[in-house]
């Protein structure tokens, strides 16, 4: 399964499915990461985590732990 944490910096991907449950999943979706949305992986923080995404025209940062539950293609 190709998940968001594996996407190299600078690549743009499309979200296929959000796994997981509860409030983390809800938060991820509330912030606009939903099925079919296009995400650019902008950069990785200096110490390797979290990552910065460009989604729906703004910058969002999430931990790799959370990115694992976002399936992309």
């Amino acid at each position: 399964m190709y998940t968001l944490d594996q996407v190299p910096v600078g690549d743009t991907v499309v979200v296929k499915k959000i796994h997981g449950e509860g409030r983390t999943r809800r938060r991820i979706m509330d912030m606009g990461i939903t099925k079919g949305v296009s995400i650019l992986v902008r950069k990785v923080a200096p110490l390797g985590d979290p990552i910065e995404l460009n989604v729906r025209g703004y910058e969002l940062s999430i931990r790799k732990d959370e990115a694992v539950s976002i399936e992309v293609e």
Binding site: T12, I18, G22, R23, T24, R26, R27, I28, M29, D30, M31, G32, T34, K35, V37, S38, L40, R42, K43, V44, A45, P46, L47, G48, D49, P50, E52, N54, R56, G57, Y58, E59, L60, S61, I62, R63, D65, E66
Partner: protein, 712 residues
């Protein structure tokens, strides 16, 4: 009849700026009932009967975060007359997501689209007329920063207040709309008509908190559940996701009709260009340390330090003190009265007010960093390190500020959104030696260990070690256990902050400190002054004959295992709780030293302690609870007595245990003390600490969920 306007919007959309613009100086700041979320309201300038209620900045009305719960409970139960929804024009998609939810509450709404100047500059065009038609509500373009059209937005809201909302936007499609219509039909008589849509969607989403307000019978619940399941099957997704997806799909359709993009998707904005330097892999950390050093240097070392010294030594120490003394002498006030006023009140409250310049400066910079958008980058850069020991990336700042003074340090934790991280930071940030503790370190090391150049810096490293190890150990206790809070954080576009906003922000925080901590400190000062000035017959005596000395004698056994068994040690420890500077000063007084010269003080305390006991005394003062001002601040910022007690008791335990281990094991290893009970206890304490640090984390997700539920 007064009109209530609720101001709602995403974080960083300019809501606070608009609120300041509309209400001016009539603001009232408090907390929402039962929670530590800040509540602000104010009167619309020039209208005594229009109340503006500022809601917390939120992204959604989900049941998961405290702020969102507070906002939705207010909107559902208190029913403001109109919602003024402020939207960041540069970030329409995500901002409209909240709008679609607000629109379902059956409250008339006006949309204020902010930062349109930036939208135009970027080459985009937004058709506000069309947006207004599609959403069935008034839309107005504003600039909160320049004050443009803010009044007009408020007037539009007043005109809409109390209207019935009869048209809904068509957000949901096909089978979802079908299921919602079915739910609406079934609960039609059970909810207020204007909230029908809201409750129908919440029942569909399985939002238990809201659904429980409808009191569905088990039969009806099962019946509706069957419909929801059918819909989920058809859409191949769960109900909550279906709703979120359809909202965003609806917004995408709107955006296609109203927005003409002047740039490509995922293109670099000015903010992104700034970030390519500021959060750059190589430069981010150096830039961060430079900024932090500057903040520290200006607000603690130089300007803040000078101002605090001046306030303490000159303003209260000489000007106010002399004026009061000569005034009291001129009216021939009795000794006890001048003692109370000069030593008790001016001495004590003066110390507190001496912190005000530092606090003002620290909060000036905090507000500046926050309002400009840099604080979110701090969390982004530092998260990796700090979450390992249960703290947040933003915990770095309180710890750094703590090197100056624990009081602003504890207050600086306000920028940490997550309640658990914030509480942990409050508990731990005063372990770093503050400037008053630095006096203890320098006096003790130069008196007893003049040859060791490593001891003083070692105390700072010890402070950091205690923070890190405590964090690791506390994270595994049931108080702080569970998965780390999700870190899904917006990196807002950089803004030049409005000076007015920053100053208001700074003053709000400092004022809280002066009023609340001031009252507690005032009382504490009077009490401590009373006990150290009078004996049991209420005669004025020197401290060695006072009730304080009596208490010191009575409890000196407590400090005996630390090598501080005399009453002088006990009194000095208590007195250091007033202000850590007193740790040395009181010792001087108790040993009858009248000269202020360091050499005299050193000679005095050198005769009182063995080097080992001095070491233990230093460790105790560094790691037991901070001074009473800081403790009052901890209590205030915890917002909860139980948590304040937990924090203080934890600090007592750490300080006492560390001093005990130092004295007992140090004596056994280096000073030829025989191995006895004390050494046994010290070894047990060490093993217990190791156990709490090294034991595997108990993994109980379930208890975490319930705890969060209970906290709400």
């Amino acid at each position: 009849m007064s009109i209530k306007i609720a101001l709602a919007g995403n974080p960083n959309c300019g809501k606070t700026t608009l609120f300041n613009e509309l209400t001016g100086s009539s603001q009232y700041v408090g907390n929402w009932p039962g929670v530590t979320v800040e509540k602000k309201d104010g009167l619309l300038k020039g209208h005594k009967d229009v109340i503006i209620q500022d809601l917390p900045g939120i992204y959604s009305l989900s049941p998961y975060t405290l702020e969102e719960k507070v906002a939705r409970n207010y909107l559902v139960n208190d029913r403001p007359d109109v919602i003024l929804n402020i939207i960041d024009g540069t970030n329409l998609e995500r901002n409209l997501y909240l709008t679609t939810q607000l629109a379902e509450l059956g409250i008339p709404m006006v949309l204020a689209v902010n930062m349109m100047d930036l939208v135009k500059k970027s080459g985009d065009h937004i058709n506000l007329q069309k947006l207004s038609e599609l959403l069935h509500c008034e839309v107005v373009e504003i600039s909160a920063l320049h004050g443009t059209n803010c009044r007009k937005a408020a007037e539009l809201a007043i005109a809409q207040a109390g209207r019935t909302v009869d048209e809904h936007a068509h957000v949901f499609t096909g089978s979802v709309e079908h299921a919602l219509a079915h739910i609406e039909e079934s609960v039609y008589n059970m909810v207020k008509p204007e909230l029908l849509r809201w409750y129908a969607i919440k029942i569909f989403e399985r939002d238990e908190e809201m659904a429980s307000q409808v009191h569905l019978s088990q039969q009806l619940h099962d019946h509706l559940e069957a419909h929801i399941k059918d819909c989920e099957k058809e859409m191949d997704d769960d109900a909550e996701s279906i709703i979120i997806n359809q909202r965003y799909e609806y917004i995408t359709r709107i955006i296609d009709q109203i927005l003409t993009r002047g740039k490509q998707l995922h293109s670099m904005t000015l903010s992104d260009k700034i970030d390519s330097v500021v959060t750059n892999r190589v430069l981010a950390l150096p830039i961060f340390f430079i900024i932090m050093t500057l903040v520290y240097y200006i607000s603690v070392t130089t300007i803040g330090g000078w101002a605090t010294d001046w306030t303490n030594d000159v303003f209260f120490g000489e000007i106010v003190n002399d004026a009061a003394t000569s005034f009291l002498a001129s009216i021939q006030a009795p000794d006890w009265l001048s003692g109370l006023i000069v030593d008790g009140i001016i001495g004590g409250v003066g110390t507190v007010l001496g912190f005000v310049p530092q606090i003002l400066l620290i909060f000036f910079f905090m507000s500046l960093l926050e309002d400009s958008g840099y604080m979110a980058r701090v969390a982004f850069i530092m998260d990796r390190i700090f979450r390992r020991f249960g703290l947040s990336g933003k915990s770095f700042i309180p710890i750094l500020v703590g090197m100056g003074c624990g009081v602003p340090a504890v207050m600086a934790t306000r920028t940490i959104e997550n309640e658990r991280d914030r509480r942990m930071t409050i508990m731990l940030c005063t372990f770093i030696p503050c400037s008053a503790k630095a006096v203890i370190i320098s006096m003790i090391t130069s008196t007893f260990f003049p040859d060791s150049i490593f001891l003083a810096p070692a105390m700072y490293f010890l402070g950091i070690a205690v923070i890190v190890l405590s964090g690791i150990a506390l994270k595994k206790t049931h108080l702080f256990s569970g998965d780390p809070a999700p870190f899904v954080m917006e990196l807002p576009a950089y803004h030049i902050p409005s000076m007015k906003g920053v100053l208001i922000h700074m003053w709000e925080r400092a004022r809280g400190f002066i009023i609340k901590a001031g009252t507690i400190i005032f009382t504490a000062c009077v009490i401590i002054w009373f006990f150290s000035t009078f004996n049991a017959h209420l005669e004025m005596v020197d401290i060695e004959n006072s009730m304080m000395a009596f208490f010191g004698n009575a409890i000196s056994w407590v400090f005996a295992p630390l090598g501080l068994g005399s009453w002088k040690g006990a009194v000095a420890v208590i007195s250091a709780e007033m202000a850590k500077e007193n740790a040395i000063g009181t010792l001087a007084v108790l040993n009858g030293i009248t000269s202020d010269a360091d050499e005299a003080v050193m000679a005095g305390i050198a005769g009182m302690f063995t080097p080992l006991a001095a070491m233990s005394y230093m460790i105790l003062n560094l790691f037991d609870p901070p001074c009473v001002v800081a403790m009052a601040t901890i209590a205030r910022e915890m917002g909860d007595r139980k948590w304040a007690a937990v924090a203080i008791l934890f600090q007592v335990a750490i300080g006492y245990s560390m001093a005990l281990v130092t004295y007992q094991l140090g004596g056994w290893l280096f000073y030829g003390m025989p191995f006895g009970l004390g050494q046994g206890v010290a070894i047990v304490l060490c093993l217990a600490a190791l156990y709490f640090i090294l034991r595997p984390a108990p993994h109980d997700k379930a208890s975490n969920e319930t705890r969060e539920g209970a906290a709400a």
